[in-house]
């Protein structure tokens, strides 16, 4: 029971990270970025490649991965979002779908069609904790997830950059009138979102094989997490991500494992039909 809960929280952490990175861009630009899953996939591939092929130190590899995927985020703003500013959001969203197709196939060009795996990061000896058995890397993953979310929270509330990002997310034109460099802030927001998605990918790499299609399927489930949390709220995305991880693992264990991949979507539809504002409601002033 406890072991299941912990496992659920670990998977949930990955959903939460991806959900938060998605919401960062959504809040700032009003765009649902379909390439977000591919950023995670690139994080997984770059991480696995750096660690298992180039034998780079894990911490360094994590930082490099974050940097490279962050650059992908920056590039998306420059090459795709920026040229389409002023167009309806629908066109921008569709363009990100095109980017996701391109990135998926770019990964295939770089790393080939075969999945890559990352070696276990912190040894193989399982750790026993209150009757639960966990692998060291599962604990490592949760520690990094919590640290990352903590840093993100501090950046968003304590730094000028975080406040600027939130201001642009609230009202882009008012921010422009106050002399905020909106373009630069948007670019950096996309980059920050890429960093988070890249780290999330790095973290899942030792759990699953890195495959070129992993991003798309994780992203679709992350939409469920985002909707549960109420589209547009970062704390909501966190809660949504963790609860999705928990629900998925308990339902798989106690109801049926065949429908493992459907639970997220059943929740997604149920929440949308019953409470489209998300379980935790929407804050006043949020977009949507």
């Amino acid at each position: 029971m406890l072991e299941l809960a912990l496992r659920g929280l670990i998977t949930g952490g990955v959903y939460a990270l991806l959900a938060v990175s998605l919401i960062l861009i959504w809040n700032a630009s009003g765009v649902v970025n379909f390439a977000q899953g591919e950023w995670l996939m690139f994080g997984a591939f770059i991480g696995a490649w750096l660690v298992s092929k180039l034998h780079i130190n894990v911490v360094l590899a994590l930082l490099l991965t974050a940097l490279l995927v962050g650059a992908l985020g920056y590039l998306l703003e420059v090459t795709t979002y920026h040229p389409l500013r002023g167009q309806p959001h629908k066109s921008q969203v569709i363009a990100t779908i095109g980017v996701s197709v391109a990135l998926e196939n770019l990964a295939m060009v770089i790393w080939g069609v075969y999945p890559i795996s990352m070696p276990p990061l912190f040894g193989k000896e399982p750790i026993h904790f209150l009757g639960a058995t966990l692998l060291p890397q599962e604990i490592g993953i949760s520690v990094v997830t919590i640290l990352l979310l903590g840093v993100l929270g501090l950046v968003m509330t304590r730094t000028m950059f975080g406040k600027q990002v939130r201001a642009v997310s609230n009202d882009e034109q008012a921010a422009q009138l106050l002399g905020l460099p909106v373009n630069r802030i948007l670019r950096l927001t996309f980059a920050a979102s890429g960093v988070i998605a890249g780290i999330a990918g790095f973290l899942v790499a030792p759990l699953y094989f890195a495959t070129t299609t992993m991003g798309a399927s994780l992203l679709l489930k992350t939409f469920a997490a985002v909707v549960v949390g109420g589209f547009g709220s970062i704390p909501g995305a966190l809660v949504g991500g963790f609860s999705l991880g928990l629900i998925e693992i308990f339902a798989t264990n106690y109801i049926s494992s065949a429908y493992k991949d459907a639970y997220a979507f059943i929740i997604l539809m149920a929440v949308l039909i019953v409470r489209p504002g998300g379980i935790f409601g929407e804050r006043v002033g949020d977009k949507v």
């Binding site: 009202d171 009138l177 804050r283 002033g285």
Partner: protein, 234 residues
């Protein structure tokens, strides 16, 4: 201080402003008046760079700012409090004021300016940790004005600052605007409430369907029989 030279603005094919020219004198409080849809807001948007004029020039302190980006115009010393206040709903009062200091180069004066805003609007100090959306309409207007002066402008433009506020709150807000003007900041008001604006402004300009029809000192305009037309929007 600010000069518009034959500025024409059009959305799509239809012009909203026709060759508008006027000059805002330094240090004074001026008012741009006119009925709904006369082009007042568009004029402000053109000055702050949100729309590009099709023709004409806008000069600020002798510099041609016509095609500058909005953030560059703000950094040059023009702050625009937009209609509807547009405060950041998800940020606290203090955070709203803090982000507004972005274009400033002197970080040292920020603290004293914050004190100044709080002196001007003690209510903002009381509510400094509250999120923007929880403020009342009047408090939001105060925050919008406070936010604008955190950028240390030399010219402050206010669009419909009295709209939707209770009469007592209007008085409070306009007293603050007067105080700001007294401290040396040039003010340009846009008001539908013509009599209110003219009580405060030394200079007035009247727009009628995109054309500047009257301009001069407020006292001269008050006695002009054509002012009635401006009221009625004919």
């Amino acid at each position: 201080m600010l000069e518009l030279r034959q500025v024409t603005v059009a959305y799509g094919a239809s012009p909203v402003l026709h060759s508008v020219s006027f000059e805002v004198p330094s240090g004074a409080c001026s008012a741009l008046i006119g009925a709904n849809g006369a082009g007042k807001t568009t004029t402000l948007r053109a000055i702050s760079g949100l729309v590009r004029p099709r023709q004409g020039q806008i000069l600020f302190e002798g510099q041609d700012i016509t095609n500058w980006a909005p953030e560059r115009i703000t950094a040059a010393g023009i702050s625009h409090v937009p209609e509807g206040r547009r405060i950041f709903a998800g940020l606290t009062v203090l955070e709203n004021l803090e982000v507004a200091t972005t274009p400033r180069k002197d970080r040292s004066g920020v603290k004293s300016d914050l004190v100044q805003v709080y002196t001007l609007f003690p209510r903002l100090h009381e509510r400094r940790t509250q999120l923007g959306w929880s403020l009342s309409g009047g408090e939001q207007q105060m925050l919008a004005i406070g936010r604008a002066i955190m950028a240390r402008p030399r010219l402050l433009m206010l669009d419909e600052a009295s709209l939707g506020l209770a009469p007592l709150v209007v008085v409070e807000v306009y007293k603050a605007i007067q105080e700001i003007n007294r401290q040396g900041i040039t003010v340009l008001l846009v008001e539908q409430n013509v009599s209110l604006a003219m009580r405060l402004a030394q200079w007035s300009y009247a727009l009628q369907r995109g054309v500047l029809t009257l301009s001069g000192t407020t006292n001269d305009l008050k006695n002009d029989p054509r002012l009635r037309e401006v009221y009625l929007g004919a």
